[in-house]
């Protein structure tokens, strides 16, 4: 199996009770996977575990077949990048200065940025389409621009796996589409994508598989059309039957197909 990232019976909690209980899943290289689930179920926590910023209480996480907790931090940082929901930057750092920090895992205390680091930063700015913003002050950007700069920061790490925590949150529909296009493009560049997504309508056609995290059932994996099943979603999100427009539309489609 050439899975890039795999969770085996992983459990985690900040205190009792545990949020993540015996989670099992695998991400194959080159895929684009969405993580969905109700608010507060632990999507961000799962992503942090995958990035190695949190340590699992039990179970093992493998990155390219090696135990994540045994790998040096810098090594993990060259393979996995996590784009957080929030990034607060004090002082008037420019976009380029922020993105340059993504090279940190390649630099030492005494080794400053070289030509290849500048090229990697240029490439990241280009990929995320923020090269025109590079001299702007990060704190003065709009939400959509910031989201792209955060992705550029992750890309400067030259990761094989890009984790994104609610990348479409707070974006208007135009910026959402741009962001999804960007994820497609990164997927074509060979980067494996794993993103928590709040808006279920973005799943179909954009993600190759979906992981559903819900409070009382084990992690469920499937294609978008398998997971976008009203009975599954209503249960997972604890949503009254046939109430949400998306679910209503879905169930109508199903009955039509059956008839």
């Amino acid at each position: 199996m050439n899975s890039l990232l795999s969770f085996h019976e992983v459990s985690f909690g900040y205190d009792e009770p545990e949020i993540i209980r015996s989670a099992n899943f695998e991400l194959q290289a080159g895929t684009c996977t969405a993580l969905i689930g109700p608010n507060g179920v632990g999507k961000s926590t799962l992503l942090r575990l995958a990035a190695g910023t949190l340590r699992a209480r039990a179970g093992t996480i493998l990155l390219n077949g090696a135990s994540l907790s045994g790998l040096p931090l810098r090594h993990v940082a060259r393979t996995v990048a996590l784009v957080p929901q929030q990034l607060d930057v004090p002082f008037q750092f420019t976009v380029r200065q922020v993105v340059e920090q993504g090279r940190t895992p390649y630099l030492g205390l005494l080794r400053g940025p070289m030509k290849e680091d500048r090229m990697a930063v240029d490439r990241a700015l280009e990929l995320a389409d923020v090269i025109g913003l590079q001299q702007r002050v990060f704190n003065e950007l709009s939400g959509g621009e910031r989201q792209r700069v955060k992705i550029a920061l992750g890309l400067a790490q030259q990761p094989k796996l890009l984790l994104l925590d609610e990348p479409t949150q707070n974006l208007d529909i135009g910026r959402q589409v741009e962001l999804i296009d960007l994820l497609h493009f990164l997927g074509k560049e060979g980067i494996t994508i794993f993103a928590s997504i709040h808006d279920l309508q973005l799943l179909e056609g954009n993600f190759s598989s979906v992981l559903l995290l819900s409070p009382d059932t084990p992690l469920m994996e499937g294609t978008p059309s398998e997971i976008l099943n009203p009975s599954i979603l209503e249960k997972a999100f604890n949503c009254p039957p046939r109430r949400h427009p998306l679910l209503l539309e879905r169930s109508q489609q199903r009955t039509k197909r059956a008839g």
Binding site: R48, A51, G52, T53, P72, L73, R74, H75, V76, A77, R78, A81, L82, P84, L87, D88, V89, P90, F91, Q92, F93, T94, Q97, V98, E100, Q101, G102, T104, P105, L107, L109, L110, G112, N139, Q157
Partner: protein, 334 residues
């Protein structure tokens, strides 16, 4: 680079001006000539220069540089432009440590360092760790908690130094040192003290240089820095140690001098942007210029009476600090 060159030239000019100023005026041209090897000074002038003016001006430069660089380091560490060794209590800690040294262990020395110097360093480190943990929450520092914790700790420590007067049995000399420290007087240090302080300062800035890139990364927050492969705790402890060492150097030469560590890095950041790597040399030079200038002013405005430079700085720095506080109200959600 041009900025650095300009600052070096400015430092030389301020330095000459400061050395020339005093009860006995010595022409800067004569001083320059003497440096170049000409016998242009009278023996009295030579004594005044070598024994009084030069050590004092060098001390002022060193104090300014050390305060400004430690201010830069603490602002980066706390991710907060209001931090400064005086405001957050690091100076107070160093001062208390130094007082314990002077009053109880004045004869003791370890590896050539006096107990006073070592205790000043220890006092500064302990205070910083205390304030740091008091002020932190969720990977950042809240400006209100930081300022309040720093204020409380620094007032407590600063004034508890008065306590030592009660134990003062050795005569009035220690009392004099204590008072001058509390007021922030840059005295005339002995050459040995100056040389040791200078070497420690160079050592601290050398270690600080590679840490500046780390401060840039820490600006993204602890969790992000960790994600980028940085051992956040180790890095932080290293940064606190260097900042405290610089504070201890400044306090042992000039006592409690407020706001220099706040103003200099702040203005440098306005000119150069927040990249700590570029800020370090500029802050070090600008700090020296600023304090040499302020000290010259302090000893000449009310001549022949000398004003402690700490008092002058309080008058200059206080309003600036309030201005910053007011301006940053929105961005720091006071």
């Amino acid at each position: 680079m041009t900025l650095l060159a300009v600052l070096v030239i400015a430092l030389v000019i301020v330095f000459l001006f400061s050395v020339a100023t005093g009860a006995v005026h010595i022409a800067p041209r004569a001083i320059l000539a003497a440096v170049l090897g000409h016998q242009s000074l009278t023996p009295t002038e030579q004594i005044i220069l070598l024994q009084i003016r030069l050590p004092r001006v060098l001390a002022a430069g060193l104090v300014g540089s050390a305060l400004a660089v430690s201010g830069l380091i603490f602002q980066g560490l706390f991710r907060n432009p209001m931090a400064d060794p005086y405001v957050i209590g690091s100076s107070g800690g160093a001062m208390l440590g130094a007082c314990i040294g002077i009053f109880f262990f004045s004869q003791l020395s370890v590896f050539g360092f006096s107990a006073t110097a070592l205790l000043a360093f220890a006092g500064s480190v302990i205070t910083m760790i205390l304030v740091y943990f008091l002020a932190r929450s969720k990977g950042g520092t809240n400006v209100v908690t930081l300022l309040l914790a720093g204020f409380a700790v620094s007032t407590m420590l600063g004034y508890s130094s008065y306590f030592f007067e009660a134990f003062d049995t050795s005569g009035s000399s220690n009392h004099g040192i204590l008072l001058s420290w509390l007021h922030g007087v840059i005295g005339v240090p002995r050459w040995t003290q100056l040389v040791i302080s200078g070497m420690l300062f160079l050592f601290a800035t050398m270690i600080a240089t590679p840490l500046m890139r780390r401060l840039n990364t820490l600006a993204l927050g602890d969790e992000y820095a960790h994600q980028l492969g940085i051992k956040v705790e180790h890095t932080r402890i290293g940064i606190i140690l260097i900042g405290s060492l610089l504070t201890a150097i400044a306090v042992s030469l000039g006592g409690l001098i407020s706001f220099a560590g706040l103003i200099v890095p702040h203005v440098a950041r306005l000119v150069l942007g927040p990249d700590h790597v570029r800020l370090l040399p500029v802050t070090a030079l600008a700090g020296a210029i600023f304090l040499v200038f302020a000290d010259t002013l302090a000893r000449s405005v009310l001549a022949p009476t000398e004003l402690p430079v700490g008092i002058l700085m309080a008058f200059l720095g206080g309003p600036f600090f309030l201005y910053l506080l007011r301006k940053s109200k929105r961005s720091y959600a006071l």
